[in-house]
Amino acid sequence: MTTSVGVAVGAAALASDARGERRRLLLLSSPAMLVVALVIFIPVGWLFWLSFFDQTGATTANYVRLIDNSAYYKIFQTTFLLSAIVTLVTILLGYPLAYLLSQLSRRAALIGLALVLLPFWTSLLVRTYAWLVLLQRNGLVNTALIKLGLIDQPLALVYNFTGAVIGMVHIMLPFLVLPLYASMKSIDPLLPRAAMSLGASPRAAFWTVFAPLTLPGLFAGSLLVFIYCLGFYIVPQVLGGGRVNMVAMKILENATTYFNWGAASALGVVLLVVTLGIFYVIGRFLPAERLSAEPR
C-alpha cells in the first residue's frame, strides 16, 4: 500500500521534468552513434561519392560499366543463384528441425538448440576449414562413400559451386532455425488441436492451421539468409576455390588488385541498395530487434 503510494508520488514528480530529462536520456546514445557515424556512415557515404564522382567531375561511367560488361552480369547472376540455392536448402533442412524442436519438451528442445548453437558460436573460419578437410578429394566424405561402395571415383565436392553451397548452408542454418523456432513456439498449440478435434487429420491440421501461421517467420528468416548470402566473402572464396565469383569478391578485387575505386564503390552501392531494399521488406514482417544475426 505505502509502496504504491510512493510510486505514484515519485512518478508524478518525475512527470513534471520529463521532457528535459528525456532529451538528456537520448544523449546517452550519442557515444554509440558517434562510433557508428565514424565507422559506417562516413565510409559508406564516401563510397557513394566515389561511385558518382572522379577527378573530372560527376560521372555515371562506373554504373554504365556494370550494365555493359557481361562479366559483371555473370557475377550478379552467380551471387543471386548461389544465395537462392543456399536459402532453399536451408529451408528444406531447417524447417523440419525447427518444427520438431518446437514440439519437444523444454529440456529436449534446449539440448537440440545447444547443438544448433554450437556451430553458431564457432568461428566462421574454423567451420570453413572443417568443410575443406571433410570434402577434399581424399577427405573423410569421399573416403567413406568409396568404402561404402557408393562411388568408385572421388567426387569433386570442394573448390567449386557445390563446396560453396555446403559451407554456406552450414553457416546460415542456425540463422533460419533459431528465429523460426521462436516463431513456432509463439503459436498456440491449442490451435492445431482444435482443428483436429473438429475432425481434421493431423496432416490437414499441420498444413492448413500450423504451417500458414509460420509463414511470416519463415519469410523473414529466409530473406535474412538470402541477404547475408549476397554479401558473403570468406566461405565462397575458400570453398569455391576461385571458381565461384561473388559480388563481394569482385569488390575486393577491384579495390585491392586494380585500385579501381570507382568500380569497387559502384558495385558496393548496388549491393547495399539491394540489401537495404530486402531489409525494408523484412522490416514489414519483423521488428529490427529480431534481426539479431551476425554479419559475415
Binding site: 523444454r106 547443438l115 556451430p119 542456425p174 547495399l272 539479431s292
Partner: protein
Amino acid sequence: MSSGIDRDVSHWQRAWLYVYAGLVLLFLVVPILIVVPMSFTPSEHLEFPPPALSLRWYQSFFGSTEWMDAAWVSIRAAFFTVLVATPLGTAAAYGLHVAASRWTKILRAALVVPLIVPVIIVAIGLFYVFAKLGLINTMTGLVLAHTVLAIPFVIVTVTAGLRRYEMSQEMVARSLGANRWVAFFTVTLPQIRISVLSGALFAWVTSFDEVVIALFISRGESSTLTRKMFTSLRDQVSPTIAAISTMLIALSILVAAAILIQELSRPQRAGQRA
C-alpha cells in the same frame, strides 16, 4: 478418451521427422567435432582417424612467434572491443528504452545499421577513410571497427533485458532519494547484468571472429588470428590450423554449455515462451 487428443500424431508415426532432424543436427555438429581428433595427428596430412596421437601441431602453434603474435592481437582487440562496446551499447540501450520519443525509433534503427550493411562494404569504405586518418594497421582502428559491429548486439541483448525488468523499481529508488545515476548502478544494473554480460560475450565473439575488415585494415604485425588463418588457408591446409580450430571449438563448447546450463537451471515460469 478424448477424440481430439487421440488424433495427435504419435512419436512412432513421425519417426521420420526424428531421423531427418537428427541428420540435420549431425550435419551441423559433426564437421566441427571431426576437426578435434584430426588436430592430434603426428603426420603432415590430416587423417581420420589419426594414426597416432601427438601434440606436434599444438607445439608448432605455441612455438611460432607469428601465430602467437596474431593470437595476442586478436585477444587484445577483442578485450578492448568488449571494454568499449559494452558501456556504449548499454548506455544507448538504456537511454532509448527509458526515453520514449519520436527520435527513439530512428536512433535505434541507425544503431542497428552495422548489422545490415554487408561487411565487405564497411571494409573497403574503412580502408579508404582509415588510410586518410592514419588508422590502418593500428589497434585503435581495429577496435573502432569491431566496436561498431559489436554495438548492435549489446543494444539488442541489453534492450531485451530491460524489457523483462520492471522499471518502476528504479523509480522507487529515486523517489527514496537516489539520483538516476545511483539508481541505475545499484538497482537496475545488478538485475540486468546477465543481459549485459551476454552483450559483452557477443562483443567478444564478434571481434575475435571477424576476418573481412581485418583483411583490409590490419596487416603484417597487426594481423589478427582469423586473418592469419584465412591467408594460410589459401596457401595450404595445415594441421596447425586444426590445432588452433580445436582450441577455438573448445571455447565455443564452453560458451554453449554455459548457456545451456543457465537455461536448464532457470525455473520455468507458467505461460513462459522461449
